[in-house]
């Protein structure tokens, strides 16, 4: 079980913003791929319905070892 500090379960009707994430889900359905929606005033994207799972907010990892 993930410690609580690494995992949250937001209440329904919560908008989760992220720059990069990977969804680990039982099923995913893409809606109207040919009809993009506005994510913000500048960005457009698609709508994906996700069923049971979690979203992992991504980070980039680098080694600190000097070669």
């Amino acid at each position: 079980m993930t410690p609580k500090s690494f995992s949250i379960s937001p209440d329904p009707d919560t908008k989760v913003n992220f720059r990069a994430a990977t969804a680990h889900v039982r099923d995913a359905e893409i809606y109207n791929h040919d009809k993009p929606i506005y994510l913000s005033s500048r960005h457009r994207g698609i709508r994906v319905k996700l069923d049971i799972g979690y979203i992992l907010i991504e980070r980039k990892w680098f080694s600190t070892k000097k070669k």
């Binding site: 993930t2 690494f6 720059r19 990069a20 980070r59 980039k60 990892w61 680098f62 080694s63 600190t64």
Partner: protein, 133 residues
């Protein structure tokens, strides 16, 4: 179709072949026959047909198996020390990799990977960077 060829066919195909498979087999047979007739190698025709058909059927069956049975990645839980070692090696080789890359390439449990990364970052063995726009 000779008896030996029929038995070979039955050995590999224990179910009804798909139309795509049959079309591919027919196309291969046509190619082989044309090739042999051109070269006047009628005697070798039967042997060639057996060999080539077996290869084609085997290949088609492998392709069908790949399509129908998706490979399921099992994300396993291993001892934390072992996970830390593997993750550290992976990051050494893949600078700038994402958390999900580590999870899926090493096939490790996401909870385990996150905890191991936090520990490695605390020990200053690796450096995590948020992805900003």
């Amino acid at each position: 179709m000779s008896s030996s060829r029929k038995s070979g066919f039955e050995e590999y195909v224990s179910y009804r072949p798909t139309p795509e498979m049959l079309a591919k087999i027919q196309e291969t047979v046509k190619e082989i026959v044309e090739e042999c007739v051109d070269k006047k190698l009628e005697k070798a025709l039967s042997k060639l047909l057996d060999e080539k058909l077996e290869k084609v059927i085997q290949k088609l069956l492998e392709e069908k198996e790949k399509k129908t049975e998706p490979k399921i990645v099992t994300l396993e839980k291993i001892p934390m020390e072992e996970a830390i070692k593997r993750i550290e090696e992976y990051i050494d080789l893949h600078q700038g990799c994402l958390t999900s890359d580590i999870i899926y390439d090493l096939a490790l449990d996401p909870d385990l990977v996150i905890q191991a990364l936090k520990k490695l970052e605390k020990d200053k063995s690796v450096r995590g960077e948020n992805i900003d726009s």
